[in-house]
């Protein structure tokens, strides 16, 4: 019965022109089911935030969206995830190209131990997006500019990326993701390892990126979800409990569990 009521709810809250959709998504780590019948639409050029207590499956769900779960042994996925209406788990889909179209930023900043320039240039290089050095330079500069990092690093593009501060590293990772011109950017708790000032910068950046990219962000901070996202989805114990406009979720949640979580009574 629960399945029926849930799918009824998601249909109710589905968006007009979804960039990505998940339909009846089940995910198993070997024997343990981590996601149960998740139905969720990701609206284009909006920020969708996924919230919920630890272990609720929100990061797992995020990694389903660019098939990063493929790299983990023993993961089985049922159901359907689409990008622009095409099933991304279709055999004909090239995972490499898919991940170029759906970029990802991780919880801990993970720049390559190379120069700042090479970090940003890596994506365009492996995908053969550029024909000349000048073109590559331009992409690197634009990406850094978009990530709000250019001013801070333009004099030391050749110095190692690992020498940057945590916040700068995370923005570099965003620049690196942006450099391959993705359509969707997935962010897995991008600010959890950053101090409040760096967090504010990254949040500002997310807001700016919204005009060009579809963004899905996993966060533990309710305030962050409220600040940066237009839509919010609440996960609990592997199930999508409620999804809707961020304002509605935070001011007028329909589900008791959502209410309990956002008011801090459990989790």
């Amino acid at each position: 019965m629960a399945a029926v009521s849930q799918s009824a709810m998601t249909v109710e809250s589905s968006v007009e022109k979804p960039k990505m959709t998940a339909r009846n998504l089940d995910l198993f780590y070997s024997e343990n089911q981590a996601l149960y019948e998740v139905n969720l639409d990701i609206a284009e050029k909006q920020v969708t935030s996924l919230i919920g207590p630890s272990g609720c499956g929100k990061s797992t769900f995020l990694r389903c969206l660019n098939r990063m779960n493929d790299t983990i042994d023993g993961v089985t996925i049922k159901g359907e995830v689409t990008l622009d209406g095409r099933d991304i788990y279709d055999k004909r889909i090239d995972v490499v190209q898919l991940r170029a179209r759906i970029g990802m930023v991780f919880q801990k900043p993970n720049p390559f131990p190379k120069s700042i320039y090479d970090n940003v240039a890596y994506g365009p290089r492996i995908h053969g997006l550029v024909n000349s050095r000048d073109e590559l330079d331009e992409i690197v500069m634009t990406s850094l500019e978009r990530a709000g990092l250019l001013k801070e690093v333009k004099d030391r593009l050749q110095s190692p990326a690992t020498g940057l501060s945590g916040g700068q590293q995370q923005r570099l990772c965003i620049a690196r993701a942006v450099a391959v011109s993705p359509e969707v950017i997935l962010m897995d708790e991008p600010c959890s390892a950053l101090d409040p000032i760096a967090t504010a910068k990254v949040e500002e950046l997310i807001d700016e990126l919204r005009s060009n990219y579809t963004i899905v962000i996993v966060t533990h901070s309710m305030q962050q979800a409220a600040r940066v996202s237009q839509r919010t989805a609440f996960f609990h114990l592997g199930k999508l409990v409620e999804v809707g406009e961020t304002d509605q979720i935070f001011t007028n949640p329909k589900d008791e569990r959502t209410k309990g979580y956002i008011t801090g009574r459990f989790g």
């Binding site: 170029a100 991780f106 492996i126 990772c173 391959v180």
Partner: protein, 449 residues
């Protein structure tokens, strides 16, 4: 709301525990003081154990270095005897052709013997003469020939020339043969010792740096035996070993770490690799003998077979070290690359491998050093042969440094004792060099990242 209910229960339980903890602790009680004292004593004891262990290890190392060094250093010097040699045209080039081939065939040995007879004219009997000729090494005639071929104008002249001495004479000069003991229990009789004393008084005995030791191959004559043949053999053997075991080992490690599914098959492979690392090396020798020599009919005693055999032995070491190095690369780097759309192979070659390289290289060089010092498997495939020529390639018969040491240690001549120690010093020098290289490479690559 079962979640809520269980939460309440947890809180209640936590409260009981924290009440028990609230009892005040008397930090000045004798019991606590005793405990602290005991803890400090234990720490001091532990420190002392560590120091003792290090001292013992250093002592062992020093003893080894001292005993080898003190025995071996004299092998780097060789006794030379000065004699008046007459380059008799009648012996060297009776027809005055000046043809190098004729000169090359001449009896230079006879010239040296003549010079010795001239120096000690009162020696007449056959056995005395044989002893007399022992003062100069059999290899001295080659030196003379070289000299004359280089400078034919010597023919007809009489020159005083330093000639390499025989091994017994050399031992006497280096003090390894004691002239004071009874005649019957030393290798040189009184007459030979008196010749020696006479030559020393005349200033005709001298120790010179022994370059031959570094340039010659093996020889039955200790004064002519050198390490170069074995060093070249070791070089070719290691090249073959490296060329095989490095790529195979690294690729196997990459596959097992990055691509292989975790199932029963890979588990069995892993267990077997770890077991192989512990297999006694002579077993690999037997395998090499059976497979490479008996089945594949590769040349006996050749570095190529030695290299193939040692590669088998080194593979597990390289695979284990490489896997550890690859495992140590943070997963976040792989995720970053995969998240950008790099293929698994690109992820490995662009990011994982460069980061793992210092560890892989260290493991490889340690494996190579192990192979350099290995003797047992090479005995099985015939690299223990007495080989005089310096090998010109991996297919020529050769021996290697540790086997050379084994061969010399087995030789009866007194002079081979110092050669053995000197060869050990050369081998150790190579090992130190290789380990130094490992440290250098690790540092260099680490700095880059």
């Amino acid at each position: 709301m079962t979640d809520m209910a269980s939460l309440m229960e947890d809180r209640a339980a936590a409260k009981v525990i924290s009440d028990n903890l609230r009892k005040p602790v008397d930090w000045d009680s004798p019991k606590i003081a005793r405990n602290i004292k005991k803890r400090y004593a234990a720490e001091r004891r532990f420190k002392i154990y560590g120091l003792v262990a290090i001292c013992l290890a250093l002592l062992a190392l020093c003893t080894l270095a001292l005993s080898i060094g003190s025995k071996g250093y004299s092998a780097f010097y060789q006794t030379y005897v000065q004699l008046e040699v007459t380059f008799d045209p009648a012996v060297i080039d009776p027809e005055g052709t000046g043809d190098p081939e004729v000169i090359g065939r001449a009896n230079f040995d006879g010239l040296i013997k003549q010079a010795l007879r001239d120096r000690f004219p009162d020696v007449t009997s056959r056995s005395e003469k044989r002893n007399l000729y022992g003062i100069v090494s059999g290899g001295a005639s080659y030196d003379l020939r070289e000299r004359v071929l280089e400078n034919p104008s010597l023919i007809g002249q009489t020159r005083s020339i330093w000639l390499i001495s025989g091994d017994d004479f050399d031992m006497l000069n280096k003090g390894y043969i004691d002239a004071d003991v009874e005649e019957g229990s030393r290798r040189l009789n009184d007459q030979e010792v008196s010749w020696y004393n006479e030559l020393v008084e005349a200033g005709a005995v001298e120790k010179q740096f022994h370059t031959r030791f570094f340039t010659n191959g093996d020889s039955r004559e200790p004064e002519l035996a050198g390490i170069w043949g074995a060093a070249v053999g070791s070089f070719y053997t290691l090249i073959v070993t490296l060329a095989l075991s490095f790529p195979i080992g690294v690729l196997a490690a990459i596959y097992l770490e990055e691509f292989a599914p975790r199932n029963r098959f890979t588990q069995i492979v892993e267990v077997n690799i770890n077991n192989l690392a512990a297999v006694p090396s002579i077993v690999f020798g037997l395998l090499g003998l059976e497979v490479y020599l008996n089945v594949m009919h590769l040349p006996r005693s050749a570095p190529v077979v030695g290299g193939l055999t040692l590669a088998l032995m080194t593979l597990p070491t390289i695979i284990i070290a490489s896997r550890a190095a690859i495992k140590a690369v943070p997963p976040s780097i792989r995720q970053a690359a995969l998240g950008l759309g790099a293929s698994p192979v690109q992820t490995v070659t662009h990011h994982v491998l460069p980061l793992a390289m210092p560890g892989i290289l260290t493991g490889t060089i340690i494996g190579m050093a192990q192979a350099l010092g290995e003797t047992a498997p090479l005995l099985m495939i015939g690299m223990v042969a007495f080989i005089v020529d310096i090998p010109g390639g991996a297919l020529d018969p050769a021996t290697v440094l540790p086997v050379q040491i084994y061969l010399w240690a087995d030789s009866p001549e007194r002079a081979f004792v110092e050669k053995t120690s000197a060869a050990i010093m050369v081998l150790l020098a190579f090992l130190v060099l290789m380990n130094g290289l490992a440290v250098y490479l690790r540092k260099k690559f680490e700095r880059k990242w």
